[in-house]
Symmetry: C2
Subunit: 293 residues, 2 copies
Amino acid sequence: MTQPALTVASLIRDEQLRLACSTWLPQGRYELMELGLRPDPAAELERCWEQFDAVLLEPGVLSIEAFQRLRAQGRILPAVVLGQLSGPMEFFQDEVHLPPDQMEQLSYSLDAAISRCLRRRSSAGAWEDLHDGESSSEVHDPSNWRLPLRLRERLGYLGVFYKRDSSRFLRNLPAAERKVLLRSLHRTYRDLLISYFRDPVAANKALESFVNTAFFSDLPITKTVEIHVDMIDDFWKKLQLEGHKQDFLKDYRLALLDVMAHLCEMYRRSLPPETSTSDGLVARVVTASQVQS
Amino acid sequence: MTQPALTVASLIRDEQLRLACSTWLPQGRYELMELGLRPDPAAELERCWEQFDAVLLEPGVLSIEAFQRLRAQGRILPAVVLGQLSGPMEFFQDEVHLPPDQMEQLSYSLDAAISRCLRRRSSAGAWEDLHDGESSSEVHDPSNWRLPLRLRERLGYLGVFYKRDSSRFLRNLPAAERKVLLRSLHRTYRDLLISYFRDPVAANKALESFVNTAFFSDLPITKTVEIHVDMIDDFWKKLQLEGHKQDFLKDYRLALLDVMAHLCEMYRRSLPPETSTSDGLVARVVTASQVQS
């Protein structure tokens, strides 16, 4: 039984970016629909809205008015924004950002966007709807509700819990791909360190990318520490050669702490809660209130 | 259908400790069998070995010879050692240590000991035995193999994966118990900081206690950071009042990093692995090799 892939609307004009998207999204799991070069991408997106499970977005391809229109209709999809890491601009809620030089992480970012979207829905009281099929009064467009069901059916998402695809775990990748992913993670971590004390918005986006990819690629925690130590060592040597002080580099441990705390919280929330029944047996019970905590 | 509790052999002589054990082990889940005051606790332990699912141990109650005898028979149980946090002594494999002033965390430590024991068994190639009931040639005493099955039946352990009892999550405890547990966690964290740079063995044990309790009580990650910050603030003020330098306190971020890394790895390993089947659906498949990674 072959299941169709999830359908991803690509709102991207830049040729390099379009090429990178088709390179780094694993076929079979995602099907790309390119709308970026159409005369009116926004109209196309709205016309075929019900086909899409997620969106890839290059800033500037949709107008502010188009976003306002979508928002007014309650139309929100998991989104990955591919562009420069600056400015606090938000297109969709809970979108995930990925800089163009780290496209190797695209599929992990998309998984993160989908998981976030599911979590947000659930915490907005959508959990029951997911299970009994009734539509909620908070939702303007019932087509929105197809998404969680579809994700659950096709990718095995357990409601709002992250479900990772182990074929894309770092240790299960072919050696060459593993190397590429690690290099990309190094770039992301470098972005984090460089912006950490001087550009909080950029730092947050880099942190987010790093944590998403670490989680969905099941990166061992020691590897994260190793990336930090390697990079700080490099900075240290460079500063020493140039005759600068290096002691302030210790403060970058805060960046690593930040990464660990976020990653840890992500793992913590991805464990389905268990509750004891009265006879002492443990049963699997998932309620919306537990999910939010 | 009422299930009997897990049976815990208590090899403790100290009266305060015995009292604390019966206070802090939740009834219904664990049944305590006190052997510590018997004339020959080791003989009693061996005689009734098959009844026990875990052991509480005060150093000195069993002789070195008794341990050697148990080890020679391949007899190993999940164990919590209740005593002073010093020296690298190991009684059972993978035992968990808890200092006497932190007995509030006893049930969490016991869960940690059980989980570890299950993991070790699994990584020793025991996974298949757990499922098809065949005994392995590596095992000297088949009575050992009852344990994982019993744990699975009674507490719902998913093979080797940590299964937490949400009734003991911090947020689900009555307010008074919550306060007691948090105070105890503060004491453990304090032990960690005090020993961090001067007594690695003691630091490791405190770190272990903290991480175990944080995991099994589902402590929010922000709370861990808060405990660290509170404690460092207190030290800072104290040193300032006494006219000492305080800058070295920043180095204690390494202790927090250590806690985060361990906790994160524990959460990471507690997620059951998933693998993709050829048609793109995600199936739940657990293999011994994945468990070890």
